[in-house]
């Protein structure tokens, strides 16, 4: 065991954790909107809209995240037309490509989580709202969404942890996130175990925090007080 290496690599890895957290928070933030949008589409009665939303989530859940990143980072640059538009400013940066891929990926999972949450809302609750003369819009925003958020918290907590692990793939498109820096240190020092313990420890610490925050929120918003 090389404790000196563990101590010297810790600040470097901690610095890289900032990149990981930035990627994670950006993709979760955008992913939540995309997820909500597609969840609403999934609940639409129109078959085409429904099928469209379903195929989106099916494709992104059925293929590895690595393929998605590679298509966006290496693949989209190939289209001549895209290079001439303003989109190229975003797509030439690996940072934004990673965020786009993560957002679309987490959006697909989030849409499934939210859809099932909306579907488990008892029709009686919506009917009760209607019979009180509340408008459909307010029923949706004030009744359905809060209940759906509560229902989906445990599954969404898992998704946050999965996404945190997913951000490690950013290292494959040259980004120096926690895994990227860990790999760099391993390949220069050939001490994989020491680096794994430190980097893995940081990841586990983040998992621990996320897990407990979700647990706290679940308790706070539970129906049975």
């Amino acid at each position: 065991m090389d404790f000196d290496l563990m101590i010297t690599s810790f600040p470097k890895l901690l610095g890289a954790t900032v990149v990981t957290l930035k990627l994670l928070s950006a993709s979760l933030f955008f992913g939540l909107f995309i997820g909500l949008f597609f969840a609403i589409l999934r609940l639409n009665k129109n078959v085409f809209i429904n099928k469209f939303a379903y195929s989106y989530s099916y494709i992104f859940r059925g293929t590895p995240l690595l393929v998605q990143i590679f298509i966006i980072y290496f693949g989209l640059g190939q289209i001549e037309y895209l290079r001439s538009t303003f989109l190229w400013v975003i797509l030439k940066e690996p940072y934004w490509c990673a965020i786009i891929a993560f957002t679309l990926n987490t959006g697909a999972y989030t849409s499934e989580i939210l859809r099932s949450a909306f579907q488990t809302i008892k029709p009686g609750i919506i009917e009760a709202g209607k019979s009180l003369g509340i408008s459909n819009k307010i029923i949706f925003y004030k009744i359905q969404i809060p209940i759906a958020i509560r229902q989906s918290l445990p599954a969404y907590g898992n998704e946050i942890i999965l996404m945190m692990k997913g951000t490690s793939l950013a290292s494959t498109v040259t980004l120096m996130d926690l895994t990227g820096v860990a790999k760099y240190i391993i390949s220069t020092t050939f001490k994989p175990i020491e680096v794994f313990i430190v980097a893995g420890g940081i990841y586990l610490f983040m998992t621990f925090i996320i897990h407990n925050v979700i647990k706290y929120l679940e308790k706070k918003y539970s129906f049975q007080q």
Binding site: G62, L66, F70
Partner: protein
């Protein structure tokens, strides 16, 4: 379509073998995972706190750390560890482990952590009366597990195991960083030499979709088979 032709002019046969490789790695990893689950599920269900701790340590660490980091650990640390063990027995030559073995071990350990959780959940949801009834009937421990607990457990575990299979299948794409020629690596090579990454990565996505679709269909059949009588 020319790019996908079989033979020397296209990448069809290469991608076909790469797909077989992905399937082979996934199945091996899944089996390695079952082996780990076989060890760690009893530990997690044990009465003894220390054994529980060992079981929980395994599943928590593996499920909380990115797959890529585990793969790097095996990739860079694997041959070192084997050489260390070999040096105890007086063998000092360089040993290189095959990328297939490293990859399926790394993915296997990850999938094992998920399988452990699935088996634990399935066993815990079997009614206590079943264990007691088996005991009362005088069936020995071996028979209790194989004839009474296992068939009931499988029915409950199969839907979740199919999720684990999907995760494992998708995780194998990460082994491409070690150089094992599976779908991702082959697409990377093809994309590099034809300068057509969009086509090849999209085709890789289609191959993965196909694999997940076919395996879902097969697992559904299995699910029906094990749910007979329910």
């Amino acid at each position: 379509m020319e790019l996908l032709a079989f033979g020397k002019t296209g990448w069809g046969d290469e991608l076909f073998y790469a797909t077989l490789m992905t399937v082979a790695v996934s199945i091996t990893a899944m089996l390695v995972g079952f082996f780990f689950a076989l060890i760690f599920t009893p530990l997690k269900l044990s009465k003894y706190k220390t054994l529980n701790l060992v079981g929980n340590f395994y599943t928590t660490v593996i499920r909380g750390v990115p797959e890529l980091l585990v793969i790097y650990l095996f990739f860079f640390g694997g041959s070192g560890a084997i050489m260390y063990v070999a040096s105890i027995f007086g063998y000092y030559e360089y040993i290189e482990i095959n990328a297939f073995i490293t990859g399926s071990m790394a993915i296997g350990i990850i999938s094992g952590a998920y399988s452990t959780e699935v088996f634990r959940g399935a066993i815990q949801s079997i009614d206590k009366g079943q264990f007691e009834a088996a005991k009362v009937l005088g069936i020995n421990k071996f028979g209790q597990f194989y004839k009474i607990i296992l068939p009931q457990m499988l029915r409950l575990a199969i839907p979740n195991l199919s999720n684990v299979w999907q995760i494992t299948l998708k995780d194998t794409s990460l082994i491409s960083v070690t150089g094992l020629v599976e779908i991702m690596r082959q697409s990377y090579i093809a994309a590099g030499s034809t300068r057509d990454p969009l086509f090849f990565y999209s085709f890789a996505a289609v191959l993965y979709l196909l694999l997940t679709y076919v395996s879902m269909k097969l697992i559904n059949k299995l699910e029906i088979r094990y749910s007979r009588g329910f």
